[in-house]
Amino acid sequence: MIRALILTVAMTLAFPAASAVQPVEVTSPGGIKAWLLQDETIPFAALEIFFIGGTSLDPTGKRGAVRLMTNLLEQGAGDLNAQDFAAARDDLAAQFGFASSADGISVSATFLSENRESALDLFALALNKPRFDYDAIERARAQILASQAASAKDPEAIAFNAAAATIYGEHPYGSDDNGTAQSVGALTREDIQSAYRAALALDRLVIAAAGDISAAELGAALDKLLGTLPKQGASLPPRAQPNYVAGVSIKDFPGPQSSIHFTQPGLNIKDPDFLAAMAVNEILGGGRFSARLMREIRDKRGLTYGVNTALASMKFAETMVGSLQVSNDKVSEAIDVLRAEWAKLASGDITQAELDAAKKYMIGSYPMRWDGNEIIAAILVEMQNDGISIDYPKTRNDRVRALTLDEVNRVARRLMRPDQLQITIVGQPNPTPK
């Protein structure tokens, strides 16, 4: 699930510096902390609760346990079976989300002010009294087995999983958090209950809320939702020891195009060079049509529909990744261009004009992400996960403005590693790329 994390990293540095509003830290009567951005304009609120650890907590031989458990949280709780629970939620027009990734479990709720208490009571039931009914387990198990089968025939997933296995080996990042048919097939109800106790605990919480809810109301809600969870969960995995294997590896897959996944070591978000590295990534393969790879591979040569790169600073490793899809007869040419761009950037050839354009985009787009209660709650959780202070946004754009060409080119030379660029191709490229 490193791919999904990449998306959240893009949001990490998004915050409305220009906005007058400022989130505050709330501590519940029971001592649970959260960030809150209160805004009563629209009568609803979004709550985002993140439990650090997630699918990386799967015990040996039980890969998929946390994923299966998380998917079951909404499939029946308390006196309500899966259908009754869904009916109760829909009667309230509330929306709940339960998702697991390699870094954590994300539990979210969006609810109307007019029935906030009822919605939170129901949400609390899912968190505290999941039933894990046998029929629900079999339905959820079948869904995960189907996802595994789909990944096995999805060239992008094949490429991603192959690359992750090479780089991370036995670390949880090295295997699909859906597990295998064998591991998921063997999971028992007891395994699911163990995963529940291991993953949903008070010692690993990151929480944020946005919208029409006061600090006092949020505090009371947090105690109701989380107060009786275990104090301590399972211990987190160690940091990964990534092993990038430079060069091209090819996996045969039928179709007109190849899926190409490329990756190399990244940079930790706490590294003093991280912001400069974000600028380097923006210039190479960021969010603009004018990024170098888009210009060279798509605009000039028409080799692909889209190509991008991202820096992902995860809990237990950091990486730089990108992907594109290319017709089989043009894969070799696209790889040549990709390698050439990697080498150029590694030589530190960013121009002042390029840096200025990237900085303008980074500065201007910063306040624009502030788009809706659910997104804001997610951003506030990401900031806490990344160890960013609650008032970092006030200075962030000044830090971008202060980036110099020398600094960014120095970081480009440090970051870009043509000698460690690992390229995975899933398809039938012809001619065979080197």
Partner: protein, 443 residues
């Protein structure tokens, strides 16, 4: 980032609704440009969109894909703007821009800081009339579109099935052609064809300007007058008279087998009426019907019968999107559990539909869906760019602002009797195309 997003022919539509509490103003310029302003003053941001009333169904026979290809070419510069310069200006202020094409419309948008609105209008008005295409840029971009087709359609067996099903559903109407175009026709699209398409369809009297965000209507009117006002209307706009379908006499069936299929499924589409000016009640009933049959999760008709009361299905669904110029489709489908054949899945689906037609609407479920409709109006206020989409799309297919604003009430007022009448009219096998996606050797 996926540039020039192509909206898929099949849209899985949820209950997205216009929010009555959001101020909406509309007017027209003398040259025929329709303008809609949606106010949201919570953040200093604006979405600026221009929707053209032209899409894949307005193409000349043999040139499938020209509407979408041309959308790409609109980023390739004008007499005074270099290729890519518009997007670079948007990015320089931190904004984002993109475009999309459907059978019925083509849209261009930017999301920028609100003080940039005038500049966006200047640039969008410029490319409405002053596009300057080099042969080289046309040739390269055609390759990009072929790669796009390769990625979005040809690499995805499910997309190929939906493409074939649309072609089978519409024997005569151009909704049977894929918006992105058939590969052999995309390969032959020329610069001249693109410029002809531009001359025929791109004019202020064939466009809708939607501005949503931190703006006031008077300022928008003044800016629109300044930048779009001077553009001359076209006197030769073609009428949107597409060849219509003959009555469908019998069900059409197809099976597509592909090695790359991991999850077989059965999909059924029925030809279905669309929303029209002052005449949206049947479409409203069908929208609710889709929720009842497959859109409302664990308690919808198909989920109950196939996922909870039996072990037939891994997933079930229903969809309907009535915001189109000509008749749309109503769809249902089943993804069977491991070991369940497509025939068995289809039989179970038909049995569930037959039982529904006999038993009628579960009133508790209907009440729940309507509660969600009312809530959707509140949630919608948190995303005015979605509201901009809703107004833009509706006006682009010929509805009025009034029709958009009446829609939520129409949904809330739909009765069980109207839902059942719509279901009986539409859910007939003789109106249907049934497709099976199977794993295995392509045949």
């Amino acid at each position: 980032m996926m540039p020039q997003l192509l909206r898929n022919a099949v849209i899985f539509w949820s209950l997205a609704l216009p929010a009555m509490a959001v101020p909406v103003t509309d007017f027209s310029l003398e040259n025929g440009l329709q303008v809609v302003v949606i106010e949201d003053h919570r953040a200093p941001v604006v979405t600026h969109m221009v929707w053209y009333k032209t899409g894949g169904a307005d193409e000349i026979a043999g040139q499938s894909g020209i509407a979408h290809f041309f959308e790409h070419l609109m980023f390739k510069g004008t007499d005074t703007m270099a290729p890519g310069e518009f997007s670079a200006i948007v990015a320089a202020s931190g904004g984002s821009d993109n475009a999309f094409t459907s059978h019925d419309y083509t849209g261009y948008f930017q999301r920028v800081a609100s003080e940039q609105l005038g500049e966006m209008m200047r640039l969008e008005a410029d490319r409405m009339v002053n596009l300057n295409l080099s042969q080289e840029n046309v040739d390269t971009e055609r390759d990009v579109v072929l790669e796009e087709r390769g990625q979005v359609i040809d690499s995805d067996p499910a997309a190929l099935l939906f493409e074939q099903m649309a072609a089978a559903q519409y024997l005569n109407h151009p909704y049977g052609k894929p918006v992105i175009g058939w590969r052999h026709e995309i390969e032959q699209l020329t610069r001249t064809a693109a410029l002809d398409f531009y001359a025929r369809h791109y004019a202020p009297n064939n466009a809708i300007l939607v501005v949503a965000g931190d703006v006031n209507p008077a300022d928008v009117r003044a800016l629109a007058q300044q930048y779009y006002g001077p553009l001359l209307p076209s006197k030769t706009l073609p009428a949107r008279m597409r060849p219509q379908e003959p009555p469908q006499l019998s069900e059409r069936r197809l099976r597509l087998a592909d090695d790359r299929v991991a999850q077989p499924f059965v999909n059924r589409s029925y030809i279905a009426p669309e929303r029209n000016q002052g005449d949206q009640k049947q479409a409203a009933a069908l929208t609710i019907l889709a929720e009842i049959l497959g859109g409302s999760g664990a308690n919808s008709v198909l989920a109950r019968a196939l996922q909870f009361d039996s072990d037939i299905a891994l997933e079930t669904y229903a969809y309907y999107h009535g915001t189109s110029v000509d008749p749309s489709v109503f769809g249902i489908g089943v993804v069977p559990n491991e070991g369940v054949s497509l025939q068995k899945a289809e039989d179970a689906m038909d049995k569930a539909i037959a039982a529904f037609l006999k038993d009628g609407v579960d009133e508790a479920l209907l009440k729940r869906i309507k509660a969600q409709i009312r809530a959707a109006e509140i949630y919608a206020r948190d995303g005015v760019s979605n509201l901009a989409d809703m107004y833009g799309e509706a006006l682009a297919i010929g509805l009025r602002v009034q029709d958009v604003q009446e829609w939520p009430k129409l949904l809330e007022n739909v009765t069980s009797a109207e839902i059942m009448a719509a279901a009986r009219a539409v859910l007939q096998r003789k109106n249907a195309v049934t497709g099976w996606l199977e794993s295995g050797e392509a045949q």
